[in-house]
Symmetry: C2
Subunit: 80 residues, 2 copies
């Protein structure tokens, strides 16, 4: 079973990496970009075959390791 | 208009960051994780209101800046 986790900075948390990308896009001539936020995507290949149990496990992984829940949000997608 | 870009390493390209996460998950007692790949997600807030033109612009941004197309794949989602 495959799982995909998106880890993004909470809104309100400064994102210097995203800001750097926004400036670079402007310098390259791409106008009309009002904001850029950059996050992580983590793709996991799991032995677990039950979707509910897989989601519970992945959420535990996010809380313990994959995301810093003080400043980051995460969402989990499970695919067969 | 919002756009979301996923940038992931091409399959076959070594992902040491993903491997490090896999080892760390094992050390924390999460068994049954066969593979981990880590990529980037970039969320863009665009002035453009036409979905087709927005996608064309974002693909150009990926080719020029956001992705290293030698070793990375990207996919673009446009949301209203």
């Amino acid at each position: 079973m495959k799982a995909r986790v998106h880890v993004t900075l909470k809104s309100g948390v400064l994102d210097p990496q995203g800001e750097a990308v926004r400036h670079a896009l402007g310098a390259l001539g791409f106008d009309g970009v009002n904001g850029v936020r950059q996050g992580k995507v983590i793709e996991l290949d799991l032995d677990e075959t039950d979707a509910a149990r897989a989601e519970t496990a992945v959420r535990a992984m996010c809380d313990k390791l994959l995301a810093n829940t003080v400043i980051e949000d995460y969402d989990v997608e499970i695919a067969g």
